[in-house]
């Protein structure tokens, strides 16, 4: 048999590992800053691009797509070549994948703090960046499939199945969730509205967790755990069952993010049932990973790589047990909107993704530099401080979630809410926020130890070069050989067929849920009194999106006595039919705002946005002083925005659009008039006018500033069907 020589591309792996480390530090650092903002809400006072609402999507995007994404690419590029005994299909595509991905990350790091956001969680990036993501992702896919086609190993190892499923599913999810109508180069509206937008978003959001954070890392687990333990996976049969049942079930579970919301109940229940079933394949995979270490547990005592893997897989097991539990409606009623969810995702991110990535980095770098790790002791230190960090992060968040949910639901014997002031339920859990920040600091410290350890290892080791390898070319299989073969073995040999089956498996669930919700009108009953937003309110809504208010405030009153008592009538599907995008939110750091309109007067909101603490002592909401700046709001796009909405089916008449500027000004002047009813406002307004005019600048009247639009939007919320 003729042996062929070729080089494994190690340089691309090196690049992705370095990017993983750099963006890991950045993502975790931003996370720590956000944790500190719970304690010192105005620590970046007045700096719009460092405000909580704008940094929060930066943190999630940096950790998911930059840190975990680059780690995934590093692991895939290393393992795929070796499992297929072939160099990557195209060096150009490898480098396009790398540089394109980093460029997207940089674009995100600039655009998100500047307030360019679609507000859809984990899909906040605006449409030009969405297109770039799709293109780079396809480059990755072509490169992977090309490598598979020119492989020298007949069978596709199960890890590769997971990589293929990752590629096709993320492509489908990303494209369908990012369908949006551009207004300008950096502004767009989701083509879906309200309930439909919510369903598509959480079909995406849930499966981004499934197919970006889980399946690729399961593939990496099936490669790197056997490598590090130097023994085959516990049960290859189980891994096959694991793969097919996981991808078949996962895609259905998205609606569990919308339990008790205005989503049709049948879709909610479907999400619950499939979420419960998911525990089986998830734990099958976890057990398969852990039992791979049977007989070599003594190695776990000395090898930091295996330690990281064991905690990672255990974290996967905990998160995938907790997930189905959280999907039970009665548990979800407590956990949803609280810090419990924050704990849940951080078990997944810190333990499963983080520790898998660390283990892989500690295993790969010494091999590629042909040396040994600079310090095993430091790696062990990283392991322990990281584990402690996870515990110190998550435990207080569980307590905080339970505590706050219980306080939200507590009634007095006379039927009134015991903690009628939302703020009381926040101040109660402040100690937990302190502990969480400490946990995050420990975890970040561990990451910095890794940075030092890896730098020292690379400095002492050989330069990372492409690796020469040899393997026989793949022989054509003769017809005679196939004849005698069992019916099932062909699938592992046929990547295209395997990909098609995987696509079918993931499409069934998505189609069953999404098509009826979009096609069947009766699923979203309309309400006659619900009208489109006025031009000023629409501008205000865009500010609400820009500032990331949705990070901390929901707009979804669930049908519980405690919520109806606190916020007003429960949400109905028909209320959201003009909401492109939906703004239901997923976390209540502050109260729900669906029925906020008319609760307080304009002056209250004016003062509250300027200094929340002056209205509610102890509030942890940051001030939004830049909305008050002596600058006119940009309203030049209002007609284009309304036309876009018209295209999407919002019933604005042509006359509405023609009169937009006039209507907008009239409503703004009315709010300015209302504000003048407060003598304090009149006083300070006059003073600031004198000050500005004395400095020679042009004074912008209050009705032209951004804050007025935001107040108009807030005052509109929920008033369409408000029962007086």
């Amino acid at each position: 048999m003729e042996m062929q020589q070729f080089y494994y591309d190690n340089k691309i792996v090196k690049k992705f590992i370095y990017a993983t480390i750099v963006f890991g530090v950045v993502g975790m650092l931003v996370g720590l800053i956000l944790a500190l903002m719970f304690l010192f809400p105005n620590m970046t006072d007045g700096i719009s691009w460092l405000s909580f609402g704008r940094l929060r999507p930066l943190h999630t995007n940096a950790v998911i797509f930059a840190f975990v994404g680059n780690a995934m690419f590093a692991g895939v590029y290393y393992s795929l070549q070796r499992l297929l005994k072939a160099r990557m299909f195209s060096d150009f595509l490898s480098n396009l994948n790398f540089w394109g991905w980093q460029l997207i990350i940089v674009a995100a790091a600039v655009s998100l703090p500047l307030g360019y956001s679609t507000s859809k969680e984990y899909a906040e990036l605006e449409w030009p960046i969405d297109i770039a993501i799709a293109l780079i992702w396809v480059a990755f896919g072509i490169n992977m499939i090309g490598t598979i086609l020119k492989r020298r190993e007949r069978h596709l190892y199960v890890a590769i199945w997971f990589y293929i499923a990752t590629f096709v599913t993320v492509a489908v999810l990303h494209i369908f969730n990012s369908l949006e109508l551009p207004v300008t180069a950096m502004k767009s509206y989701s083509v879906y509205a309200g309930v439909q937008d919510a369903l598509v978003q959480w079909w995406y959001g849930h499966n981004a967790v499934a197919f970006f954070l889980t399946t690729p890392f399961l593939g990496l687990m099936y490669y790197f755990v056997p490598k590090a333990a130097n023994r085959p996976v516990y049960s290859y049969r189980l891994s096959i069952v694991h793969f097919w049942s996981l991808i078949f079930l996962y895609i259905w579970a998205g609606p569990h993010h919308l339990l008790y919301s205005a989503l049709p109940t049948w879709a909610q229940n479907l999400g619950v049932v499939f979420s419960i079933m998911l525990i089986a394949p998830s734990w099958g995979g976890m057990i398969n990973g852990l039992l791979t270490l049977r007989g070599v547990w003594d190695k776990v005592r000395v090898d930091p790589v295996l330690k990281f893997f064991v905690v990672a897989i255990t974290g996967y097991g905990m998160a995938t047990f907790e997930g189905p539990m959280l999907s039970l409606k009665n548990v979800n009623a407590i956990a949803h909107f609280t810090d419990w969810i924050i704990a849940h995702v951080h078990v997944g991110a810190l333990a499963w993704n983080g520790f898998m990535a660390f283990g892989i980095i500690y295993w790969l770098i010494p091999r590629m530099t042909k040396s040994t790790l600079y310090s095993i002791k430091l790696a062990n230190f990283h392991f322990w401080i990281g584990t402690l960090g996870i515990i110190l992060y998550t435990l207080p968040m569980y307590v905080a979630g339970f505590t706050q949910a219980s306080m939200w639901k507590q009634f007095n014997p006379d039927g009134t809410l015991t903690y009628g002031n939302f703020l009381e339920t926040v101040t109660q859990i402040m100690p937990m926020y302190w502990m969480r920040a400490a946990g995050g600091l420990l975890y970040l410290t561990g990451m910095l130890v890794l940075v030092y350890n890896i730098i020292q290892t690379v400095r002492a080791g050989a330069t990372i070069e492409d690796e020469l390898a040899e393997a026989p070319a793949l022989q054509q299989i003769s017809a005679g050989r196939i004849k005698g073969e069992k019916y099932h073995a062909w699938l592992e040999r046929k990547p295209i067929q395997l990909t098609i089956f995987a696509v079918i498996a993931i499409l069934i669930g998505g189609i069953v849920q999404i098509v009826p919700t979009i096609m069947i009108k009766s699923n979203i009953p309309t309400i006659a009194s619900v009208k489109p937003y006025s031009p000023l309110e629409l501008e205000g809504r865009d500010l609400y999106i820009r500032e990331g208010c949705v990070s901390c405030h929901s707009q979804m009153v669930r049908p519980f006595r405690s919520e109806v008592e606190r916020y007003g009538p429960q949400s109905k599907a028909g209320e959201f039919v003009y909401d492109h995008p939906f703004l239901w939110g997923s976390k209540r750091t502050g109260p729900d705002l669906l029925r906020e309109g008319g609760k307080y007067n304009d002056n209250w909101h004016f003062n509250h946005f300027y200094s929340p603490q002056s209205i509610s002592a102890g509030s942890i909401m940051p001030a939004y002083k830049w909305l008050f700046a002596n600058e006119a709001m940009d309203i030049s796009l209002i007609e284009k925005k309304m036309q876009a909405m018209q295209t999407l089916g919002v019933p604005y008449s042509d006359a509405d659009i023609a009169n937009a500027q006039k209507d907008l000004r009239a409503q703004a002047l009315k709010i300015e008039e209302n504000l003048k009813s407060d003598p304090d406002f009149v006083n300070s307004y006059d003073n600031s006018r004198k000050k500005v005019e004395a400095s020679g600048e042009k004074f912008v009247p209050m009705n032209e500033r951004e804050i007025v639009a935001l107040i108009a939007y807030i005052q509109r919320l929920g008033t369409d069907i408000k029962v007086k």
Partner: protein, 59 residues
């Protein structure tokens, strides 16, 4: 637990066929998967699971 699931689809005509169909699809999927997996030859499974460990023929 199933109280909440029971009633919300009763209004669709002929709805009873859907749960039966779903059950059949799932049953067939997992039975098929089981048969497929357990009809592998033991040596084949061994060979497949060794793939990651056989990749080190580097020079």
């Amino acid at each position: 637990m199933f109280e909440q699931i029971k009633h919300n689809m009763e209004t669709i005509a002929g709805v009873a066929i859907y749960p039966i169909l779903s059950l059949l699809i799932f049953f067939a999927f997992f039975v098929g998967l089981g048969i497929w997996v357990y009809s592998y030859k033991k040596e084949k499974i061994e060979e497949l699971s060794q793939i990651p460990l056989n990749d080190s023929q580097t020079l």
